[in-house]
């Protein structure tokens, strides 16, 4: 990890003014990737997983993109939306990166999209799931390799109804990501004929769930649908199990509830069902190879954030090979990126006109510490992007 620091410092000091870089020939210079991910605060683990996945994909292409070396400029987004525009501007105008990869937090994504629109910088979102990024706010130079809140929660609506649940309570943090996720579930569940009897919103980022769990117990619904991520997910699932609700009221959610935290759940997650576009136990050989390589490189099992980083790297590899390393011609580059098709560890994956992944969504259940795939909740699901005028 530390040689990238040295490279980063040298590169940024050089580009920060010691030398006026004229229009050098496109090819010898390394491709500069600006990583705007959280390396502090509650989302630190996600930032690190995405970074690891990205670097793994590029290392597997012997560290090259379109025949050129790669240089990483890592900037801590601190998941702080108010700093997003200036950080993005620093990467684009300050460090002159060729691609910006990030963020994790939706609020930071909004700030980045603002600068992406003004600067035209090619941005690949490896996580933030706000629907607008590839809908109302879509733009040619913005791609996403992760998901939209809707894409993961919508399939669970149908699954919940098929499992016989009719009255469901939803609970999530009172912030945009949570509301969007729960809305996707409600849309599908009520389309099937089910009813969301209560929508509980918890102040962000509180993890004091006891009073809400008691409220759920008093309503006594058929099932509970929830969206929490990171530490919030671990707390909720453990409290839910400790309150003995897991046996009487099944807990459903989108994958982020338990993703990357199965170890921390230590048994409290058994039987919890979630829908997500990835599971570490997917049995296709790309995933087996990926899990092995990731385990060997970083000493721990990958999760969806790692695969999203990995696919971002694979996408760059494929696109830059197509334009054989020419990052000057933006149109051609965007065309190449849009036409990327991956045999990803998560399964076949291509991009819609609004540059959002068309991918499978799997139904998973935690069985002895692993997300076992119990079914495909949605096949090659495309996200609604009617408000997108590219």
């Amino acid at each position: 990890m530390n040689n990238t620091f040295k490279k980063t410092i040298l590169a940024s000091l050089v580009s920060a003014g010691m030398m006026t870089s004229g229009l050098a020939a496109a090819d010898e210079h390394p491709v500069k990737l600006g990583l705007m991910l959280p390396y502090s605060g509650t989302y630190t683990a996600l930032g690190e997983a995405i970074t690891n996945g990205l670097k793994l994909a590029i290392e597997q292409n012997d560290g090259q993109l379109g025949g050129r070396d790669v240089e990483y400029v890592q900037l801590d987004s601190e998941a702080n939306p108010s700093k997003a525009p200036q950080n993005m501007s620093r990467l684009v105008k300050g460090d002159n990166v060729d691609f910006v990869i990030g963020p994790v937090h939706s609020g930071v994504a909004m700030g980045m999209l603002r600068v992406a629109k003004q600067s035209g910088a090619i941005t690949i979102i490896p996580n933030a799931g706000l629907g607008a990024a590839t809908n109302q706010l879509c733009m040619p130079n913005v791609f996403r390799t992760s998901f939209s809140m809707w894409q993961n929660s919508y399939p669970m609506g149908k699954v919940a109804y098929d499992q016989g649940h009719r009255e469901v309570v939803t609970i999530t943090w009172d912030y945009a990501g949570g509301k969007e996720d729960v809305a996707g579930f409600k849309e599908a569940f009520e389309a099937e004929g089910g009813e969301v009897v209560e929508e509980i919103f918890v102040p962000f980022p509180s993890t004091e769930f006891q009073s809400y769990l008691t409220q759920i117990a008093s309503i006594d619904p058929d099932a509970v649908y929830t969206f929490f991520a990171g530490g919030g997910g671990v707390s909720f699932v453990r409290d839910y199990a400790a309150a003995g609700l897991k046996d009487s009221i099944p807990l459903l959610g989108s994958g982020f509830l338990t993703e990357g935290n199965v170890a921390a759940l230590d048994g409290a997650g058994e039987g919890v069902q979630t829908t997500l576009h990835y599971a570490e136990t997917l049995d296709n050989e790309q995933n087996q190879a990926f899990v092995e390589a990731y385990q060997e490189a970083y000493g721990k099992a990958p999760d969806t954030y790692a695969v999203q980083g990995y696919d971002t790297g694979a996408m760059l590899v494929q696109a830059l090979d197509k334009v054989d390393g020419n990052t000057e011609d933006k149109e051609a580059l965007i065309e190449a990126l849009a036409s990327v098709e991956l045999q990803s560890p998560r399964g076949p994956m291509s991009f819609s006109e609004s540059h959002h992944p068309i991918q499978n969504v799997y139904l998973r259940e935690i069985q002895d510490g692993k997300h076992e795939v119990v079914g495909v909740a949605a096949e090659q699901l495309e996200v609604p992007d009617d408000a997108c005028k590219m």
Partner: protein, 350 residues
């Protein structure tokens, strides 16, 4: 005299102003293709300088430590965001007064409730109001929630139909911010040297005595609170204008803490100090971010060292440089025995 400073201060500040103002001339030569980004960074520093200066009126001059000043900064940003039409630029002619009016009303309402408290209670009530507005904006439906809201077009400055200033040009926007900073500075400098400023000094020094002389101290403090809030809101509006983005994080207590850090770095109660503090803070942040991923440790240690070793901040160094300090010992003890300290030792009284 409390707010009369040696000649060298004026000389240094004018020199800095010249360097910053003529950046567009020497910038490209030095920074090459990065000069546009550095201009953006400079604009941000100017905006944060205005924000820090507005807080200095409260903390440095009147001695009211607010831990919720980001409330007005964010209010300025959101007033711009919510009052701007979606598909055309608003006009700055009515937007700036609107932002100032909204901030003045909010500062009056919050001020009336907060001014009566002192010491830790003032810190806590300002923090509470800041958090209240933060959650209000994060959860209410029409402010875009925690994702924030976009401002599609920067407000324009037109005379009838002919555009006077092209706001989309970064240089023009930079000079707008710089002009507002200079106006703000001159206004506060004049205010602190006026009789009203003398009253504020008296209140900072010994509010009880001022009341015994017959001064309605709450009234004077409230006016200072409103002025400080309005200036902070202008800075908030400019910050939202720069990137066209308003977000609840601009209201959070971390932002209030950051601006306080700019104050300690720059030197409080001097009006020009916080300007230096804002520049110093952003430059340090820029350097630390490039040095290591663990930059918060460096920033945290910088603040701790500033508090322990350099309580008068950069301004203190300029006003009374160490090699002169032996001649004017009074400067040092002034901080240690600052009047509100007396109130802390007897914070149980009354």
């Amino acid at each position: 005299m409390l707010h009369r400073y040696p000649k060298r201060v004026a000389f240094i500040m004018l020199a800095l102003l010249a360097i910053v103002a003529f950046y567009p001339l020497w910038g490209p030569a030095v920074f090459g293709d990065q000069s546009e980004f550095i201009l953006e960074k400079l604009t941000l520093m100017v905006i944060l300088a205005l924000f820090a200066m507005s807080l200095d009126l409260l903390v440095g001059i009147v001695g009211l430590v607010s831990l919720g000043h980001a409330l007005f900064f964010g209010l300025g940003a959101y007033t711009l965001a919510l009052a701007s039409p979606d598909f055309s630029p608003a006009s700055l002619w009515w937007m700036l007064p609107l932002v100032m009016l909204v901030a003045a009303v909010a500062a009056l309402v919050v001020g009336v409730l907060v001014i009566r408290t002192k010491g830790i209670f003032f810190i806590m009530t300002t923090l509470a109001f800041g958090q209240m507005l933060y959650y209000l904006v994060s959860t209410s439906p029409f402010t875009g929630g925690t994702d924030g809201v976009f401002i599609m077009f920067r407000p324009s400055v037109t005379l009838g139909e002919t555009p006077l200033l092209d706001m989309s040009d970064p240089h023009t926007f930079f000079y707008l911010c710089l002009v507002l900073l200079v106006i703000g500075f001159l206004f506060l400098r004049w205010l602190t040297r006026s009789y009203y400023g003398q009253v504020l000094d008296g209140i900072h020094d010994n509010e009880h005595r001022m009341q015994a002389l017959g001064y309605a101290t709450h009234g004077y403090k409230l006016i200072a609170f409103v002025i400080s809030g309005v200036l902070a809101a202008i800075a908030g509006m400019l910050a939202a204008m720069q990137y066209g983005f308003a977000n609840p994080a601009q209201l959070g207590w971390h932002t209030s803490g950051e601006v306080l850090m700019m104050l300690i770095l720059g030197g409080m109660g001097t009006i020009f100090g916080p300007i230096l503090g804002a520049f110093a803070y952003e430059i340090l942040l820029f350097v630390y971010e490039h040095l290591t991923m663990h930059w918060p440790i460096l920033m945290g240690l910088t603040i701790i060292v500033a508090v322990l070793v350099l309580p008068r901040g950069i301004a203190g160094l300029i006003i009374a440089p160490p090699w002169q300090r032996k001649k004017t010992p009074a400067v040092e003890d002034e901080v240690a025995a600052s009047p509100s300290v007396r109130s802390t030792t007897q914070h149980k009284e009354g």
